[in-house]
């Protein structure tokens, strides 16, 4: 891993960065429009967001070469806010999300990413892909065979063209061909982008969302801003990790959190929805040769130029073309090797992954899925560690005493197994408990030790504990009762 200076991060690779940024911008147009449809807002809200976020994150982000814009993961969270309260509240929620994300960066919460296991990440990605797929399938409702034919043809172009040439973006060709077909053949039954709402006709303006500045407003947007914050950062940090692997360079994750926050603040002030890093677009960027900050900035600038220049043409793009592009994004996002992994991986990993996916698909909220995934992986881990506890015993030569040897981790999960391992019916003078290779982690562990010692004492057996490590000793001294006066009286009370 190597460090580059900020200057190098911008200009080490300018020609290819600009080309890659352009390829990404061409892919961002259909995606942003599709995400706007998912969120139920005018396409311009997503397109302004993509422009603002891409430009801002290019300067303040922690991961050069990563593409951030309006995303589906975020769009899925805000549908009901827009439907119930209107787009101004969405902008306010975007601003609040920005503030919360900056705070996450300041307090270095990116380090918490280590608690999100690989299985949860895979579940997140797969759930995202499935949600994309579901939202696109909905577009087919009430449509005739023409829609199916158009989407099918679009997919053939998207996947077939790269076999002949990789010089031109195939999704772009798909859009051009389908739009041309729709216009020349006069296929009026097909829905077009123009019917979905307003497209940008000018540069975005700076304004504050038109919402009352009250506690009530805050309580409306907070339940949206929190999952937006979490999902935005999760997807951004996951994507950053993927790019770290691609480029074998490090990125500053906490700086990325702050960068995402600043980008969302800028997006919100210019009338854009909240966004985050995009896995698919970032992969496209790297694949097209983009590595530096310039590629991210170029994607934003080219996006805006295109959208302003092509205004009328964009209006005429049939939704079928967008659906084809989004299906590609869905298939490309899904982690197909994870299906094979279901058979080969440990069962608990698969359960965590599937639980994450199921939770997301039902709630449409990636934050909930990740929460469930993290809790499940923690529980599985605790269970696995508890199984590392081993207790063996040997009768002394004199047959008057027994030595129990405990090794492993003692905590709330393993405490009961610890207590059960002792044989209290045996008549002995002395019992030695050797805990050299054991560690006492919590109250339950010390409590279990207490119970064991006191139980032996009640049988008139002397108990000696040997080999306790310092950390365990501190805990035991603080909370154990067996070594304190009056222990015997109290034991009866339990």
């Amino acid at each position: 891993m190597t460090k580059n200076s900020y200057f190098q991060e911008w200009f080490s690779n300018p020609r290819r960065d600009i080309i890659a940024g352009t390829v990404v911008a061409l892919a961002l147009i259909p995606e942003s429009i599709a995400f706007a449809i998912i969120a139920g807002v005018d396409p311009k809200v997503a397109l302004y967001a993509s422009f603002c976020i891409a430009i801002t994150i290019a300067f303040v982000g922690g991961r050069p070469g990563m593409i951030s814009a309006a995303t589906g993961a975020m769009a899925l969270l805000i549908g009901s806010l827009v439907a119930n309260h209107g787009v101004q509240y969405l902008l306010a929620a975007t601003l609040l999300t920005g503030v919360l994300q900056i705070l996450c960066g300041v307090f270095k919460l990116a380090d918490l990413m280590r608690f999100v296991s690989k299985s949860v990440v895979t579940g997140f990605v797969n759930a995202l892909a499935i949600l994309y797929f579901i939202t696109q399938v909905k577009e087919f409702q009430g449509q005739d065979w023409l829609m199916y034919a158009m989407v099918g043809g679009g997919l053939i172009i998207i996947y077939g063209l790269p076999r002949f040439t990789t010089a031109v973006p195939s999704p772009l060709i798909c859009i051009i061909v389908l739009t041309t077909l729709a216009i020349t053949l006069g296929l009026d039954s097909l829905k077009t982008v123009g019917e979905m709402g307003q497209l940008p006709s000018s540069l975005p303006n700076l304004f504050f969302p038109d919402v009352p500045l009250s506690w009530e407003t805050f309580m409306i947007i907070l339940p949206y801003a929190i999952p937006l914050t979490v999902v935005g950062l999760l997807e951004s940090l996951m994507t950053a990790g993927i790019l770290d692997d691609f480029t074998d360079t490090e990125s500053d994750k906490n700086r990325e959190c702050k960068g995402q926050g600043i980008s969302n603040l800028v997006a919100g002030m210019f009338g854009g929805m909240a966004g985050c890093a995009m896995i698919g677009q970032s992969v496209i960027n790297v694949k097209s040769g983009g590595r530096g900050r310039l590629s991210t900035a170029a994607s934003g600038v080219v996006l805006l130029i295109l959208i302003l220049v092509l205004d009328d043409l964009v209006n005429q793009i049939p939704i079928a073309a967008l659906v084809a592009v989004m299906l590609m994004v869905s298939f490309g996002t899904f982690n197909w090797s994870s299906i094979k992994g279901l058979r080969d991986n440990h069962r608990t990993s698969s359960i965590v992954m599937i639980a994450t996916v199921v939770a997301v698909v039902f709630t449409h909220n990636l934050a909930i899925g990740v929460g469930i995934g993290v809790v499940l992986s923690a529980l599985f881990f605790a269970y696995k560690v508890s199984r590392l506890l081993k207790i063996s015993s040997a009768l002394d030569v004199s047959h008057k005493g027994r030595t129990y040897t405990v090794s492993g981790q003692l905590f709330f999960v393993s405490a009961d197994r610890f207590a059960e391992a002792f044989d209290f019916r045996e008549v002995l003078d002395t019992v030695t408990i050797d805990v050299t290779h054991a560690h006492f982690w919590d109250l339950s562990a010390v409590g279990a030790l207490d119970r064991v010692v006191l139980k032996f004492r009640r049988e008139g057996t002397e108990v000696e504990i040997v080999g306790m490590n310092e950390a365990s000793k501190t805990l035991v001294l603080k909370i154990a009762t067996h070594d304190k006066p009056g222990a015997m009286d109290e034991a009866g009370g339990h």
């Binding site: 790269p162 990789t166 074998d248 992969v283 097209s288 982690n335």
Partner: protein
Amino acid sequence: MPNILACTDGSIYATSVYNHTAWAAAKMSASVHVLHMLDPHHEDPVKADTSGSIGFGAKSALLSEIVELEAARAKIARKHGKVILEDATDQLRKAGVNDIQAEQKHGRVSDSIENYERDADLVVIGKRGNHADFATGHIGHNLERVVRGCHHPVLVASREFSNMNSFVLAYDGGASAQKAVEYAATNPLLKGMKCHLLSIGKGNAKLEKALDEAKQTLSNAGFEVSAEIRDGEPDQVIGEAVAQEHIDLLVMGAYGHSHIRHLIVGSTTTAMIRTVKIPVLLFR
């Protein structure tokens, strides 16, 4: 035994770096540690695929493609590096150095010089690197970062090594110049060379006094010293002095100012290294 760290990249400056190193090693009776860094070129894209489409399993496919191509390139680079190090050892041995240790590391010199110069008493590096020819007149950003990262003196090798008979010590009375004077007086590296103390500026009582003391220190150490104060732009004045007196080495303090000041006013040190055609011994 003192140790000299010689950084090489196999460029046209390499031979000169080895010659300078051999000279310093002989004077200091030092061992030599040759370091070749395998420069990562991760920002080089794999191949331009601007199809903009992501197929099934695009992420893992792309990652394995990148890793494969970089592995192939890295293997070639490593082989090339080995040849460079063998050549370095060979040339140094011929120049009379016996205690040589050659090492290959991943990374950039400028990023990791601090890790390697810790055990060295002197660092030798070429004025320009691999891209010497097409970037003539442009002193590497790298060089500056290396010098800033070093706590020991850095000898910046010029294109050709010539016999070391005299040196100019650019003296401004500052801490690093003072360090240079003390080093010259105590370290065997510069022993036996003619010394020209040169101060630049209008001259004032304080500077004259300091210059006098420096001259005294050096002549006490057995140097044949001349001292003068000349007015003008530092890089011009020193350039002229070097040409007139047939000087073989420039000794000076380096990068006395912060990065920020440097960004605004530029660096005298860089300008100086660029103008003079002789090796430069830098002190921080």
